[in-house]
């Protein structure tokens, strides 16, 4: 019998349906893998009993002939999604011990589709970070190591670092992520897996701890493109409880998957050739172009002239929204309360928030508060919104010449933990290729393309037109088929 944890979502779904194994077998195998991977610190809460209960239900449903789309499939849930009766922390001390009385729309959809929960996955605190070093519950370690004998712990990317690490280490076959400026795509690239951020509004934000409301978007991460399509179909959909949710039917992305790109024009944006980018990434990009050409696509050069302003605009808009979104964590109603002796209300706020938020969260709250302040608002926030409009226009103009864009996902392979944590600007630069898409609300995905000289995965990013996740997935599939990426991290944990 194959090792069940080597199976992806589609393989588990189909094998379970065919009677090759029970759902309980699957859940148990993954539960064991999770229990044996403490060294990766990918989980904040493990929920083996919930995974087993869902599996037992799936086994009953199979016997009764009432299978659901994800029956028998256990997954991980990023700890930014509120899960009823299961602690939800956003990896912050300020929410430690918080147990929601409600279920986020996206997680609820997945459970209704028959999926089971293996646990709540670690992340950068409030999804703020690109290396998973800002979690109150400790760094997540990537299962990957450099092939030069160096055993330095590497970053799994962020903010969905628990998700990427767990998938790459075969602790879960797939899991949810959220992406505000690259938090699905960059960790996927760092760990050799796939992840898609759908069009803003495809997935409900209801019940997801907010970071930057106008950018936050949930999406799936998994081992391959098909698995991403399957999960996304069961996450997306209109939600009247989210005013920014799109009232559109969910396409049958999996069924329409096709790696034939005939008639598609792929744009290569010249502004994404940045100084100091490793030659290997440039080479992979060229390889990706060749693969898409091979799949029948036509390659065109395009320009996204305002790209260089995207990162500064993002680091104004996202902190501005965050500074307001995080005001609710005040020690009054739930979560941490630090009430020094003789403290008044202001003292309680100060003590609670000082103790509850990590440094990166505080940094962004300060930036956000500053850029929204009287006298600075126009120079920063208003200006950043104008840039955002120009970025979106860049893409609109590009779509006159092409149907999708191909770029590297990140300007480097995974770096070592601690290497950039003292330099916020260097850390922010990691998002340079992913942020413009977020500002424009477009669908984008990262798929693994190959390994660098140190044996670390590199990802390629496909960006599509609004609502055209299908073309993005199809191009991802075309690369996946040609890249033949089978490398995996050797188990050391």
């Amino acid at each position: 019998m194959t090792n069940l944890t080597d199976l992806g979502i589609a393989a588990i779904r189909d094998g379970f349906k065919a009677g090759d194994f029970t759902a309980r077998d699957v859940a148990s195998a993954f539960n064991d893998a999770v229990a044996g991977a403490k060294a990766l610190n990918a989980f904040i809460v493990e929920t083996p009993e919930i995974a087993l209960a869902a599996a037992d239900q799936a086994d009953k449903d199979r016997a009764a002939g009432t299978l659901k789309p994800l029956s028998g499939v256990p997954i991980g849930m990023k700890d930014l999604f509120a899960t009823k009766d299961v602690q939800t922390t956003a990896a912050s001390h300020i929410l430690e011990g918080f147990v929601p009385q409600y279920e986020s729309t996206v997680s609820g959809k997945l459970w209704n589709a028959g999926a089971g929960m293996l646990g709540k996955l670690n992340l950068d605190q409030f999804a703020m970070g690109s290396s998973n070093e800002t979690s109150f519950f400790g760094n997540v370690i990537s299962p990957w190591r450099r092939n030069n004998g160096d055993t330095a712990a590497l970053a799994p990317g962020g903010s969905s670092g628990g998700t990427s690490s767990a998938i790459a280490a075969r602790l879960v076959p797939g899991a949810t992520g959220t992406d505000t400026g690259g938090s699905i795509r960059q960790p996927a690239a760092f760990t050799g897996i796939s992840g898609i951020k759908p069009t803003y509004g495809r997935c409900s934000r209801w019940g997801i701890v907010a970071f930057a409301s106008s950018l936050d978007q949930a999406g799936p991460m998994a081992r391959d493109v098909r698995d991403c399509a399957i999960l996304l179909e069961n996450m997306a959909g209109f939600d009247p409880k989210d005013s920014t949710s799109l009232d559109l039917a969910v396409p049958n992305w999996e069924a329409a998957l096709s790696s034939d790109l005939k008639g598609k024009r792929v744009g290569i944006p010249k502004e994404y050739r940045v100084d100091g980018m490793p030659a290997e990434i440039d080479a992979l990009w060229e390889q990706g172009i060749a693969w898409l050409k091979d799949a029948g696509a036509e390659i065109v050069n395009v320009s996204l002239p305002h790209t260089q302003y995207a990162l500064p605009a993002y680091y104004i808009i996202a902190p501005a929204e965050a500074s307001s979104n995080l005001a609710r964590y005040d020690g009054v109603r739930y979560g941490l309360r630090d009430l020094p002796d003789g403290a008044n209300l202001q003292d309680m706020y100060a003590a609670t928030r000082a103790a509850g938020f990590g440094d990166e969260v505080k940094r962004r709250i300060l930036i956000g508060t500053y850029v929204l302040s009287a006298g600075f608002y126009d120079a920063y926030y208003t200006q950043a919104q104008k840039v955002r409009t120009l970025i979106a226009r860049d893409f609109d103009q590009a779509w006159e010449k092409c149907d999708l864009l191909l770029t590297p996902t990140a300007p480097s392979a995974a770096f070592g933990l601690g290497e950039k944590s003292d330099d916020p600007l260097a850390m922010y630069l990691n998002d340079v290729f992913t942020v413009p898409t977020s500002l424009a609300g477009l669908p984008a995905m990262s798929v693994p393309g190959g390994l660098d000289a140190l044996g670390l995965p590199l990802g390629l990013q496909i960006i599509g037109k609004a609502l055209d996740e299908q073309t993005v997935l199809n191009a991802g599939l075309a690369i996946e088929e040609r890249a033949g990426f089978t490398a995996r991290a050797d188990k050391w944990w």
């Binding site: 999604f81 907010a210 409301s213 106008s214 409880k241 005013s243 307001s324």
Partner: protein, 491 residues
């Protein structure tokens, strides 16, 4: 447009007062502005709180169309511009009664733009002519919760029932120049809100509160520095707050001081205001567009539906009462001042009462009785249908005015209909000339002295004979017939 005659007499001369009001009116709606929780008054603490109102992690606001509709209807009622495109902004500040850490409001693009309402002349109050008061804008926003400091010796409690309830902030132009004008504006605004049905106008329960902006200046000078007195919750208190604040400012200025732009609090027990915080301490609210909400775009059809849903408003109604129904201007003003009164009065007309007679009867008899009983017109023990029956009995001669009063009293006591009471108690008036003539003869015979005086020219005694005759007939004689026959008998 004439200015009011209101002036503050300082030791160095006269000062004018300039007043603007920001009224917070709670929108009448079953649920809150952005959540499905109930919005009614007086429930047990924290029983009307949704996950959204408590700002639980990941909760999102969804606009309640009914609240938007009510604000648009209010805007139409004050002839204001309805903005087809508006947007919600966050006003950020920390307080324990504000779960989100921000209030969702509309700073940059309010739902309703420039409008106005007219206040009436009131010579007694020093308002010499009717005056138009500009309304700069109406925006919708969330109310905060309530802190309770009297539940525990060292702790404060928070009640979130009000948290998220929809408010309209109605911002006037600084067009008022006396406490009386401000009072008239508030009363008129309250009447309009109640006619529209967008706010119950109940100031005691906090459904309507005013922030009062006051400054003083010498005639013809530039506007002075203003202060803002927050959350004043009755018309009388608003007028008191203005009076006190204007006089205080004059005292400061005449003593060589300067007015500080600041927020003040009104103390209803003393009728005075005191400083709460100065501009330097003012919050930086860091307003920015709420990214959880899309801009609010209204269709023409929605606005038209709002317009069509509005019933006749007080000014139009009053004009119609005068012009079409022939009711006196004073009566028309009183009958239309409150929507409940107008509604009752129009029900009375619908039951067949004649307008002028009905107006007089409501103004004197009904109001008198309600006043005595301490009841509002909605709780009147006599229904419009019952009142119409009573008035018909007067019109058709069955009852005299004084008999009608007696019957009405019995109606109030027993709840019986006028017809029943007339039949049962034999209160019908009589026009039987033979019977009346016999009584007159008897009265004249019994009062020879008065008869003598009358005939020698003291004609005022005519009323005496009418009274005696009516008394002898237990009030049931038709007064017109009595008059006529008495004149004949006294020759």
């Amino acid at each position: 447009m004439s200015e009011s005659t209101y002036r503050i007499q300082g030791t160095t001369g006269e000062w004018e007062v300039v007043i603007g009001l920001e009224v917070h009116a709670q929108v009448t709606s079953n649920s809150k502005l952005f959540s499905g929780a109930a919005a009614s008054f007086g429930a047990e603490p924290n029983t009307q709180v949704s996950l959204v109102d408590a700002a639980m992690p990941g909760m999102l606001p969804v606009p309640n169309a009914e609240c938007i509709r009510q604000a648009v209807r209010t805007g139409i009622a004050i002839d204001a511009q309805i903005n087809r495109w508006s947007r919600f902004d966050r006003k950020n500040y920390f307080y324990a009664d504000l779960p989100q850490g921000y209030q969702i409001s509309q700073l940059y693009h309010p739902l309703v733009g420039e409008g106005h309402l007219d206040i009436d002349a009131d010579e007694k109050a020093g308002i010499l002519e009717a005056k138009r008061i500009g309304v700069e804008r109406i925006h919708v926003e969330q109310d905060a919760g309530k802190l309770m400091h009297d539940q525990h010796p060292t702790r404060s409690y928070v009640d979130l029932n009000r948290s998220g309830v929809a408010l309209m902030e109605i911002v006037s132009r600084p067009d008022m120049t006396s406490p009386a004008e401000a009072g008239a504006y508030l009363r008129k605004l309250r009447a309009i809100l109640r006619y529209v049905g967008s706010c119950d106008g109940n100031m005691e329960e906090g459904s309507m509160r005013a922030d009062v902006n006051v400054s003083v200046r010498r005639a013809g000078e530039e506007l002075g520095t203003r202060t803002e007195t927050k959350n004043v919750n009755s018309v009388r208190f608003v007028m008191q707050a203005i009076e006190h604040e204007a006089n205080r400012q004059v005292d400061v200025l005449e003593a060589g001081g300067k007015i500080v732009q600041e927020t003040r609090l009104f103390n209803p027990d003393t009728g005075t205001t005191r400083s709460m915080r100065s501009k330097e301490d003012a919050h930086d609210y860091r307003y920015f567009p709420d990214p959880d909400l899309l801009p609010l775009e209204l269709t023409e059809a929605f606005v038209e539906e709002c317009r069509a849903s509005l019933l006749e408003l007080p000014d139009a109604k009053r004009a119609r009462y005068v012009d079409v129904l022939g009711i006196s201007a004073y009566n028309a003003a009183v009958l239309t001042a409150e929507v409940e009164t107008a509604r009752w009065f129009e029900a009375l007309l619908k039951e067949g009462a004649e307008a002028k007679q009905a107006a007089n009867w409501v103004m004197s008899e009904l109001f008198g009785a309600l006043n005595r009983l301490g009841k509002s017109i909605e709780d009147s023990p006599v229904s419009p249908a019952q009142a119409a029956e009573l008035l018909t009995l007067v019109t058709d001669g069955t009852l005299s005015g004084s008999l009608a009063k007696q019957v009405f009293e019995k109606m109030l006591e027993t709840g019986d209909s006028a017809g029943t009471i007339v039949e049962r108690d034999g209160l019908k008036q009589t026009s039987d000339t033979g019977a009346i003539e016999a009584v007159i003869a008897d009265v004249l015979a019994k009062n020879p002295g008065q008869l003598e005086q009358y005939r020698s020219g003291k004609e005022a005694l005519f009323g005496f004979f009418v009274g005696q005759t009516m008394k002898a007939m237990a009030g049931k004689a038709n007064p017109a017939v009595v008059n006529e026959l008495l004149k004949k008998a006294l020759g």
